[in-house]
Symmetry: C2
Subunit: 223 residues, 2 copies
């Protein structure tokens, strides 16, 4: 296990927000599939998997996305793989929606009917009461985004373990980007909104500065 | 790299939401430190690291937390390690706050003063305009939670790579839990709110059912 601890920490230290990728070094299909699989197998609240991934290979579409993404100016033209991570909207995740009922049914199969009802009820009160979202629809969308970021983090870590560089791209204008994707029929706006984007590839040059992080004693408090 | 792909996928499949841990099998200090380190080294938007981790060793405090956490009834008494993941509140992350200015200064050191100003400005408009949060303070808190979930995902994956089980715990009542932590002086309510909780340990028994996930073709769309 000592080796694995070292492997994990090496990967975490290897990863940095890579702005410029080597455009001549592609990420292999096998490696990229592994990264996507790390996202797919990620945990999510209630097991709802409120995510979808657009894998953008099309160069022209990448340029269009770049026009509304100030934070991905150098990444988009140079990276090997680029994804848009979508989160399910609250209106597509109401307790009685087909999607939620299907997921709950799958989780509670071969169990009493009451359990399915109880789980639906639980989910209903969970967001509104326990997490105090009330009628704040945007906050409910953000809850789905939280889950997406588990998958996002796993993609970066899987990539780093494979020696592949990455960059999270939150630097975009949400509404113009969503409109652009909707106009091209890539996103049903009633169902999904954009949570985040990410680039993958191999670094063109080493990071310009050392990783800075707050020291452990500021991050963790022992009680 | 083939071996590493297998290692990653094995870990993702090994992980499940473990409800019942073996109370007699502790997670070693070295392993737990590695899990915490995976969180500390996680990426975050603007490099703000808007998180803090409470590592709850105290049994009495675990019981108190349990009283407001319907989702952690079996995990809390049986797990070896338990954490409360805190997210910074918007009022402690205003562009002009000491915390944000300190982080931006660290990122832009040895660079023209203008860059620090520009970055402060960028952050200011980013949340309000680009991400359309406007004055929705809860949504801004959720943005910090998104970042926390990257760290959360990395903790679960690091644990799984080390053969350690885990369980995310979103099943709590936010306000009573925050009040409880504030009363004990563990959380400054002006600075942090609870994002999530998590348990770590070794499973008492195998998962009751197979992992279910939507198939890859429903999760990823190629363009």
């Amino acid at each position: 296990m000592t080796d694995m601890r070292q492997t994990i920490l090496d990967a975490m230290r290897f990863r940095f927000a890579c702005k410029q990728f080597d455009p001549n070094r592609p990420v292999s299909d096998d490696d990229f599939r592994c990264i996507l699989e790390a996202a797919r197998l990620s945990p999510s609240s209630f097991g709802f998997e409120p995510w979808q991934i657009l894998a953008i290979e099309d160069k022209e579409l990448r340029e269009a996305i770049r026009s509304v993404s100030w934070g991905a100016q150098t990444q988009l033209p140079s990276c090997s793989r680029f994804i848009v991570l979508l989160a399910r909207k609250p209106e597509a995740m109401t307790p009685t929606s087909d999607y939620i009922q299907r997921t709950i049914m799958q989780e509670t199969q071969h169990q009493p009917d009451d359990l399915q009802k109880a789980r639906t009820q639980k989910y209903d009160t969970f967001l509104k009461i326990d997490f105090c979202y009330g009628d704040n629809e945007r906050a409910k969308f953000e809850w789905a985004c939280r889950q997406c970021y588990i998958a996002l983090g796993n993609m970066f870590t899987a990539a780093a373990l494979l020696g592949i560089d990455s960059c999270p791209c939150e630097g975009f204008q949400k509404e113009p980007l969503e409109q652009l994707l909707a106009e091209r029929g890539l996103v049903n706006g009633d169902e999904y909104g954009v949570a985040c984007m990410a680039a993958f590839g191999y670094r063109k040059e080493p990071p310009h500065r050392e990783k800075t992080r707050r020291p452990m004693e500021q991050v963790v408090r022992w009680i």
